[in-house]
């Protein structure tokens, strides 16, 4: 027998399939199909945790996702330690290892429980009152201490080793919830031919039929009908059934997010199998069959282990075959708890008393209870409970007053009624309507194409539930255009129970009891008194009451408590419930792991890693790579024993002495084609383009509307109607969007099209005095002489036998070529160029050397030497603005008074007086290092390097009126001393610019 409280004649589990598990190190036995909660109860374990604030002993309240108390840690291994798992949801597997939380040193003796005695200090709003002063203490003292003491489980401290998955899905009809309503709706929709997805959070569909022993559908016990219906649905190819799957978020355009738990119930999951899968479902129509959640009774001492919801007690009995006690009392304000008492009685469990808050309960179940010999105390209240770590007795008094009676009981089932689970409906932006007759918020006006059926719609008679759901399913299928394949036969359904009555707020006669705290929100330890106090202290809206008391703000989001809190506030304010308002339901319905949300997007799949066609060569030749946006770029190529400094110095020297070869494939490329291509270029760039000859190139600057530099690059004219535009590596996507944006919105009259060719071409830059000698043997049909192909020209030709675009351009100040070949040929052409280069003493160089060489020449890098507030003139590039042009993007921005006023920061060069000191990029520059702090900043360093070719450090900087300061001494104050610098031209090497022409 798996547990002393397991009943041989009850439940649906197979007594032969036992599983071992431990809770806080103690070994127990359960059965396949158990939850951790049912297995613990079968072993007589009710105490499972300590409460959040007062550290009070807590037991299992519910049998499903609404559980506020029974939160445990599930530890599989060092990395897999999941905190705050609801024991009522965690399925048992062999070897499961669970630990309790928020207790020290142990669950049965917890020092933190002193908080309970100090409770007067912890009343509603205590955070806001007690810890106000001194201000500094909040961060250093109060918050850390409170966080440590008031807590949930401990987050794992290792990376999550599990896999998570994602799927997008589409269907005509999505049914959330597979109780009687959801099953009937799915069946009708499926039989009408619709594409149906049916999702349910439980491992087995059936919903309330799990415990409703009296339900009969189609002449069969309800549970049996449910399993047969699932089998019928599963056999259809137009139905996808997702069990262990919670619909947790309802978003715009009928997008519903589902979290499917795939391995948490397995003893030895396949390490490769995803643990959870996020389903993002786009549904034609959504059928919400999310059921209802039972409310507990609010009375003094209502949180003792052993006190639980009536339907939970019944679920443990009827489904799991577990008695929640030997003597189980019942306290209720509605009929459905009577069914629980009757089921217990039938299994031979003593039911010493059934306390009903109502004065004169009537109806079939009440009669049956009396006939079964259960003592029904109508018009009574439970005013206190006894027992330290487990209930031992309850105190009962007549509501109208009278003598108190003590009743021995080791468990108490309570039911204050059922709250329709309108969470998803509310998330869909549907408006709730308050039904004063039954005291429930029900779906009112729909905001999306959805329908609510069953208990979540306030329908409580099983026959009506099934009828309503069948109709909704068929209608949903019809509405989404499914071809009807015949109507679903309507099964007769009946159940002796109804879920409509009940109370909210404290039970009558139990409010003023001295028997202890009457809890509304178990997980956040909020009592009825706290809610009342919040109102007395001036909170009027339920949103304020919620934040002041923290009611409904725990991980269970107040599933069992919200209506109680609302009713208390309404009573205190003497207002009808809807006027106090209902707090907003937000996703997720139940907690969702970050893993499920992240899905595949971690590790190598977090973000695409882009590599050039030449990457493999660079890797094989020892390149160190740097990340540039999504790209991996070769940073430098160290030889044996070289550090970065030595490698870069060698590369820089060799390029200027012989030649260097550089992979420039990541440069953005845009082909601008059409009869108006030149006109478009005139508008997008500051430069003139109309008269640029075919076969020539120009350095172009692109501005934003505000006149600041947005991008730059060399543009070659391939034909009258075709330009080859290059952009910065990082700017490629946004520059194309910027151009496309203007083309579509401002210049739609222009006949021109833009196509990204960034990845069409592999680009091999060959730079240095020997560049032409290296390139020449590989190029066919082009005269490479300086006269025939001068600096800033482009030719369409063949290189290494493949079609190529050969540019004579330079970002180093040396004679340079850039060979563009179709990307698949890039590696082979690179190897051919390299073979030639080696004969001429060339090096392969990376981005660092590229940066140094261009800085030696004063060439800017947009985004490094500009920061979005730099005009062409600031950057010393006024020459690139077509003086005769009357229009281009940014032309009006450039005329703004502040952009033409004196005192703007201008790009200049800096030389340190000590040539060996390399400035720090971003360092601030001042005129007088001895002035008082805060100093007047003149500007800052944008680029700084050691220049092997110059023999001293070099820097570029943006400095106020910089160009008027040539030769001036300025200062760069640093933490370890002030560095003296001299303002220079931005060109440090080959000032006349002769080398570029050969």
């Amino acid at each position: 027998m798996a547990g002393a409280f397991r009943l041989p004649a009850a439940g649906r589990l197979d007594a032969g399939r036992t599983l071992r598990f431990t809770f806080d190190g103690v070994s127990h036995t359960g059965l396949a199909g158990d939850t951790l909660a049912s297995a613990l109860l079968a072993n007589g374990v009710h105490l499972v945790g300590r409460s959040f604030k007062y550290h009070r002993p807590r037991g299992i309240l519910a049998a499903g996702a609404e559980e506020p108390n029974a939160l445990v840690g599930i530890h599989r291994d060092a990395a897999r330690r999941t905190p705050n798992v609801r024991a009522t949801v965690q399925e048992l597997y062999d070897g499961l290892n669970a630990v309790s939380q928020n207790r020290w040193p142990s669950l049965s003796f917890d020092v933190g429980a002193l908080n309970d005695l100090a409770a007067p200090f912890f009343s509603a709003g205590f955070y806001y009152k007690t810890f106000m002063w001194p201000r500094a203490a909040w961060e250093r003292l109060y918050e850390p201490v409170i966080r440590r003491a008031a807590g949930l489980g401990v987050a794992p401290d290792q990376p999550d080793p599990d896999n998570y998955s994602n799927r997008f899905a589409h269907c005509d009809v999505l049914v959330v919830g597979a109780g009687p309503a959801g099953l009937a709706a799915a069946l009708a929709a499926a039989e009408a031919g619709a594409r149906v997805i049916l999702a349910d959070e439980q491992p087995q569909p059936g919903g309330s039929l799990r415990f409703e022993s009296g339900a009969v559908i189609d002449g069969k016990p309800g549970w049996e009908w449910a399993q047969e219906t699932v089998a019928r649905l599963a056999a259809k190819d137009n139905v996808r059934i997702l069990t262990r799957t919670t619909g947790f978020g309802y978003y715009a355009h009928n997008m519903v997010a589902l979290a499917e738990r795939l391995t948490d119930h397995l003893a030895a999951p396949d390490a490769q199998a995803p643990r959870e899968r996020l389903w993002q479902v786009r549904a034609g129509r959504v059928v919400l069959a999310t059921g209802a959640i039972e409310r507990h009774m609010v009375f003094p001492g209502n949180d003792r282990p052993g006190i639980m919801l009536a339907a939970a007690g019944r679920t443990y009995l009827n489904h799991y075959g577990v008695a929640v006690g030997r003597r189980v009392a019942v306290y209720t304000a509605c009929d459905s708890a009577y069914a629980a008492a009757l089921d217990l009685k039938k299994q031979g469990i003593a039911v010493p008393v059934l306390v009903d808050a109502r004065q004169a309960p009537q109806g079939g179940l009440v009669e049956q209870a009396r006939e079964a010999g259960i003592e029904v105390l109508a018009g009574h209240a439970v005013t206190g409970t006894r027992g330290r770590l487990r209930l031992s007795a309850i105190e009962v008094v007549p509501v109208a007053g009278g003598p108190q009676r003590r009743v021995e009981a080791d468990a108490l089932l309570t039911s204050a009624g059922w709250t329709p689970a309108v969470h998803l409906f509310s998330q869909s932006r549907g408006k709730l309507a308050y039904d004063a007759g039954t005291g429930r918020f029900l779906p009112g006006t729909h905001a999306q194409n959805a329908v609510c059926v069953g208990a979540c719609n306030g329908t409580t008679d099983l026959g009506m539930v099934v009828e309503e759901a069948l109709h909704a399913g068929a209608e949903a299928a019809g509405q989404t255009g499914a071809q009807a394949r015949g109507a679903t036969a309507r099964p007769e359904a009946r159940s002796p129970e109804g879920w409509s009555a009940g109370i909210a707020g404290p039970a009558p006669g139990a409010e003023a009891g001295k028997g202890g705290k009457a809890f509304v929100d178990f997980q956040n330890d909020v009592t009825a008194k706290d809610i009342a106090q919040a109102v007395r202290e001036g909170m009027r809206s339920i949103e304020h009451v919620k934040r002041f008391t923290t009611t409904g703000m725990a991980t269970d989001q107040g599933k069992t408590s919200n209506l109680h809190a609302l009713a208390i506030a309404a009573r205190m304010l003497d207002k009808p419930v809807p006027e106090v308002g209902l707090t907003t339901f937000r996703p997720p319905y139940t907690p969702v792991t970050f893993g499920a949300l992240v899905g595949h997007g971690r590790g190598a799949l977090f973000e695409p890693t882009r590599r050039t066609p030449i990457h493999a060569w660079a890797e094989a030749h020892g390149a160190v790579f740097e990340d540039v946006g999504q790209w991996k770029r070769a940073w430098y190529f160290p030889k044996d024993g070289e550090d970065m400094h030595a490698a870069v110095a060698r590369e820089c020297r060799t390029v200027r002495q012989a030649a260097g070869i550089f992979d420039a494939s990541t440069l953005g490329k845009i082909e601008v084609v059409g009869p108006d291509a030149a006109r478009f270029m005139e508008l997008m760039y500051t430069n003139p383009w109309a008269r640029l000859e075919v076969g020539r190139c120009r350095y172009g600057i692109m501005l934003r509307e505000d006149g600041f530099i947005y991008d730059d690059g060399v543009v070659g004219r391939l034909a009258e109607d075709r330009f080859h535009v290059t952009t910065t590596t990082g700017g490629a996507p946004r520059v194309l969007h910027h151009m496309e944006d203007y083309l579509q919105t401002e210049f739609p009259h222009l006949k021109v099209w833009l196509t990204s060719t960034t990845e069409q071409w592999a680009v091999i830059a060959v730079q240095g005095p020997r560049a032409r000698d290296i390139v020449a043997p590989l190029v066919e049909g082009v005269d490479l002489s300086d006269a025939a192909m001068p600096h800033m020209s482009v030719r369409t030709c063949r290189v290494c036998g493949v079609p190529a675009r050969l540019f004579r351009i330079s970002f180093t100040g040396e004679r340079g070529f850039e060979i563009n070949v179709p990307a698949d040929h890039g590696l082979a052409v690179w190897e051919a160029v390299w073979a030639q280069g080696e004969r001429h003493g060339a090096v392969a160089y990376g981005t660092e050397t590229m940066h140094v060489l261009r800085a030696e020449k004063g060439f800017i890098i947009v985004g490094q030497d500009t920061d979005g507030t730099v005009t062409p003139d600031d950057a010393g590039l006024a020459w690139a603005i077509g003086k005769k042009k009357t229009d281009f993007v940014g032309i009006r921005g450039l005329r703004r008074t502040d952009l033409v006023a004196p005192g703007r920061r201008q790009l200049i060069g800096l030389k340190t007086l000590d040539p060996s000191i390399v400035l720090e990029e971003g360092a601030q520059i001042v005129a007088d290092p001895n002035q008082k702090v805060p100093m007047k900043m003149l500007g800052f360093v944008t680029s700084a390097y050691w220049s092997e070719n110059c023999g001293h450090s070099i820097a570029l900087a943006l400095v106020e009126d910089g160009r008027a300061r040539m030769g001036e001494r300025l200062y760069v104050p640093m933490p370890d001393g002030t560095i003296e610098v001299e303002v220079t031209s931005t060109v440090f090497f080959d000032e006349k610019g002769e080398r570029v022409h050969g």
């Binding site: 998955s165 490769q272 997007g601 882009r610 196509t755 060719t757 290494c800 036998g801 698949d824 040929h825």
Partner: protein
């Protein structure tokens, strides 16, 4: 005379075969990004030897050549025999833009009875046959990469993407393909 440089595909050596799913790099093909206004379509269709489709999410195929509708004035033309597509378009005087993107894109063939499901790991579109029938084509996303998806058979899709994204796209497809549902 230099020997023509060899080709290296970005997905060389990659392949995956699993239960109900096969992932394979497509053979090199020539591709054209074609942009044109309505007036030029008859002439361009004639030059290309197929009727350029005019409805969203459609394609036209003829022999080993296909044109995929990407936008009101935009097509992706693919020729599996490697025909010189720019040369074909160059003969058309009607206003258009033809840009060779043969090497910009690469393609992955996703086939097998789980093809739809594996693509659904990263593509938010409805790929069931009723909504995305054989011949359907669409520029869409797969995870964090832009792709052009083309259904060439009941259980065969061609995924076109930019070459540097192909490692990511292939890896994500493989990750999804390894999962059992």
């Amino acid at each position: 005379m230099v020997e023509a440089a060899r080709r290296t595909s970005p997905l060389e050596g990659r392949a995956f075969r699993g239960h109900g799913i096969v992932l394979a790099p497509a053979a090199p093909a020539s591709r054209l990004s074609l942009r044109a206004a309505e007036e030029a379509l008859p002439a361009l269709s004639k030059a290309l030897g197929l009727s350029l489709p005019r409805r969203p999410k459609t394609s036209a195929a003829e022999g080993g050549r296909a044109a995929l509708w990407l936008g009101p004035d935009e097509w992706l033309v693919i020729d599996e025999q490697g025909a010189d597509l720019p040369a074909l378009a160059a003969g058309v005087s009607a206003l258009h833009s033809a840009v060779d993107i043969s090497h910009r894109n690469t393609a992955i063939l996703v086939s097998g009875k789980r093809a739809e499901e594996v693509l659904a790991a990263g593509c938010p579109q409805d790929l069931c046959e009723a909504r995305f029938p054989v011949g359907a084509a669409s520029r869409t996303v797969f995870g964090k990469a832009e792709i052009v998806l083309w259904r060439t058979g009941k259980t065969v899709f061609r995924v076109e993407c930019w070459r540097s994204f192909s490692d990511y796209v292939f890896s994500l497809l493989e990750k999804a393909a390894r999962e059992t549902m």
